[in-house]
């Protein structure tokens, strides 16, 4: 059986198997190679640029966690946080994502997004839970840059189109914040992008960005003023109060307008025009009035409530404004010059030719037909206005110049406020103390008299005779009235008058005789019925 077995085995043909082409043993090395390759790719080829962001304080930043975003898309991660060599700054090493090199140029900006409450907005609330992150904006420069200074505040968005950069300078204290809008006729046309205190020139310098579609609004005749949304002034022309919408009231900003006949004297720097930023609209408008026909009015003695912006009227119609009052060449003129005070006025030539308006007034002055007077414009504020008069008779004054401006002569007029001042002065001269004392004593006497009359009338009320007496007195009163009328018709020397005088004397005598009786009845009404018990005392010498 074992041979059979061997035979059987001996007859079996061997099957040749083909060896396997890929051994599973290589799976693991291959996988390792792929991973290695991926890692190499990821760490070499698929790596974005590494940049450094310098900031003063790395508050809220965490290495490996803090993200860098552009338009809310993650474009990088903070890889490392370290201090600068001199320990004055913190340096963030950020690993940007691949293909973000185009975002990084000289004008790219980085800032930290965290909860921030501004004038009208609250931003960055999402970072309360997620933590702060770094936001970036793409600059419009072509030069690659990998080191940036982080901004303290978010920059104003100037990416939309190519607008216009303007520069403002102000001598007033800072009223405008970075980010405040630039407004034209109520529309936001740009933003303040930068503010700086120029210590050397004692100025505040601003730069503003005007959006592309509005950039043509800015020209040489543009005037800028800061704007608070609420405008209140109590001036010579009365109370002026205006409100804008709530947003503008809260936000403020810079407003501009274009004035005809005005050309800015501002210099142009390498980047554009530098405009003056006026304190308010009034100051801005007064500045432009200097480019309209100007004249000088010499006010006598005192300014009489004439101030900047006071009206200049002709036939009650406003034709101009006071530009400066007083308009001295220098401050010493107040003490050196005569009693007259120069007031510079401007005639509003809007819509008309400058030369036409100027020539019209100068011609009238030379022909001695034009003069002015001061009139009251507001009873509330006591402000006055300058009224122009064209009159051949009244305005016969010589043509004169003051600081090269034609002088409009003034004729005396008394404004309502002056009249009120005069009346008040007269009232002030009255001795109210003495008057009050005399009135007081008179009233006391009257009060006593009234009390006595009350007592008498109260005690006489129930007496028949007295009632009759009342009737008699009433009749007498009527008679006196009639007599009074009669005396109006007759003179004091007439017979009738004398008779009446006599009658009145008699009546007076009767009244005097009645007086003790009335007093007696007042004291003791019973005497009418029961008679008087006490008779006059007897006089006996030596008693």
């Amino acid at each position: 059986m074992p041979e059979n077995k061997e035979n059987t085995l001996g007859n079996t043909q061997a099957v040749v198997k083909k060896p396997r082409k890929f051994s599973l043993v290589w799976v693991i090395p291959c996988l390792a190679c792929v991973i290695t390759a991926l890692l190499i790719w990821n760490n070499t080829i698929n790596v974005g640029p590494e940049i450094k962001i310098i900031m003063s304080d790395a508050e809220g930043m965490e290495a490996g966690k803090t993200l860098v975003k552009f338009r809310s898309v993650v474009v990088g991660t903070v890889k490392d946080i370290s201090l600068s060599d001199d320990f004055s700054k913190t340096v963030l090493t950020v690993e940007m994502k691949p293909n973000t090199s185009a975002l990084l140029n000289k004008k790219s900006q980085f800032w930290v997004v965290k909860p921030r409450i501004e004038n009208t907005t609250v931003t960055g609330l999402d970072t309360i839970l997620s933590g702060a992150y770094i936001q970036m904006s793409k600059g419009n420069d072509q030069t690659f840059e990998n080191s940036f200074v982080c901004l303290d505040t978010p920059p104003v968005n100037t990416e939309v189109g190519v607008g216009k950069q303007i520069y403002l300078e102000s001598k007033e204290s800072k009223k405008v914040q970075v980010g405040d809008p630039v407004i034209y006729k109520g529309f936001k046309v740009g933003s303040i992008t930068y503010a700086m205190l120029d210590v050397k020139n004692d100025l505040i310098r601003y730069s503003a960005y005007i959006e592309e579609k509005y950039k043509n609004l800015i020209g040489k005749n543009t005037v800028f003023w800061s704007y608070s949304g609420v405008d209140f002034s109590l001036g010579a022309s009365g109370i002026d109060l205006s409100f804008d919408n709530l947003n503008n009231i809260l936000q403020g900003g810079v407003v501009f307008d274009n004035f005809s006949n005005y050309e800015s004297k501002s210099e142009e720097n390498s980047q554009g025009l530098i405009y003056q930023l006026f304190k308010n609209e009034k100051q801005a408008r007064l500045q432009t009035l200097m480019y309209m026909p100007n004249f000088v009015v010499m006010v006598n003695d005192n300014l009489r409530n004439i101030a900047e912006s006071s009206k200049v009227t002709y036939k009650g119609i406003e034709v101009g404004e006071v530009v400066s009052a007083p308009w001295y060449a220098n401050d010493f003129d107040l003490y050196n010059k005569s009693d007259t005070i120069p007031v510079l006025i401007a005639i509003n030539s809007k819509g008309m030719d400058y030369d036409f308006v100027n020539d019209f007034y100068v011609k009238a002055l030379k022909e001695k037909r034009l003069c002015a007077t001061v009139e009251s414009s507001s009873l509330i504020s006591g402000g006055n206005e300058i009224a122009l008069l064209f009159d051949d008779g009244m305005c016969s004054f010589k043509y004169a110049l003051y600081r090269n401006k034609p002088v409009i002569p003034i004729i005396s007029g008394l404004s309502i406020s002056d009249q009120i001042d005069s009346i008040l002065a007269n009232i002030n001269s009255i001795d109210f103390g003495q008057l009050s004392f005399e009135m007081s004593s008179t009233l006391r006497s009257l009060s006593k008299l009234a009390n006595n009359l009350n007592k008498i009338s109260a005690s006489l009320n129930d007496q028949k005779v007295v009632k009759n007496l009342g009737n008699v007195l009433s009749n007498l009163n009527n008679t006196l009235k009639t007599l009074n009328q009669t005396t109006n018709d007759y003179g004091s020397k007439s017979k009738v008058y004398k008779n009446l005088d006599k009658s009145l004397e008699q009546l007076n005598s009767i009244m005097k005789d009645l007086r003790p009786a009335v007093e007696k009845i007042g004291r003791n009404p019973n005497v009418l019925i029961f008679g008087e018990k006490n008779s006059d005392p007897e006089i006996k010498v030596g008693k």
Binding site: K512, D513, R515, P516, K520, I529, F530, G531, E532, S535, D536, P537, E538, I539, K540, V541, G542, K543
Partner: protein, 177 residues
């Protein structure tokens, strides 16, 4: 009968009440101080102003009945107002002296009355003015007793006393000159 008796009783009571009121009507006497004056003094009275303190201005003679009581009489009245009478009386006396006619006088009378025992009191103050400028101020008092009982003697004594005061005033004013 009862009603008749009531009527009679009521009538009697009423009659009893009115019997006291039906009395003889008294007539009062009027007294004057200026009956004997020269009418010329009427023109000179203008520069004399006399003011009477109460109750002298009540139109009746005043009698002092105790140290603190004055009685205005009912039946003894002044024929004219007392201030006017005194004004004329003053003018009459002063006109007898060669006084500056531009001087005016303000006389304030405090006492001008008698008393039940016949004593007469007059007191007054006098201010003399020349062109509204005070040149002289003085007070005067007169006391005397009337010679007879009654009001006529009182009036005569009052007149006599007042004239003597005015004469003193005239002397004083003359002394200023």
């Amino acid at each position: 009968m009862k009603s008749l008796a009531l009527v009679i009783l009521a009538t009697s009571l009423l009659t009893g009440c009115f019997s006291n009121s039906v009395r003889q009507q008294e007539e009062f006497d009027s007294y004057t101080l200026i009956d004997d004056l020269d009418p010329k003094v009427l023109a000179a009275k203008e520069h004399i102003d006399v003011n009477l303190k109460s109750p002298l201005n009540k139109g009746s003679i005043v009698i002092k009945t105790s140290d603190v009581a004055l009685r205005v009489t009912n039946s003894h009245k002044w024929a004219q107002s007392l201030d006017e009478q005194l004004q004329l009386l003053s003018a009459s006396v002063l006109s007898k002296y060669a006084l500056n006619p531009r001087i005016s006088y303000e006389i304030n009378v405090l006492q001008f009355y008698g008393s039940t025992n016949g004593k007469v009191n007059i007191s007054l103050s006098c201010k003399a003015l020349n062109a509204n400028k005070t040149i002289f101020v003085n007070s005067y008092v007169y006391e005397g007793f009337q010679s007879d009982d009654g009001y006529e003697a009182l009036v005569l004594k009052l007149k006599e006393g007042y004239i003597s005061i005015m004469e003193n005033i005239a002397y004083d004013v003359l002394a200023i000159r």
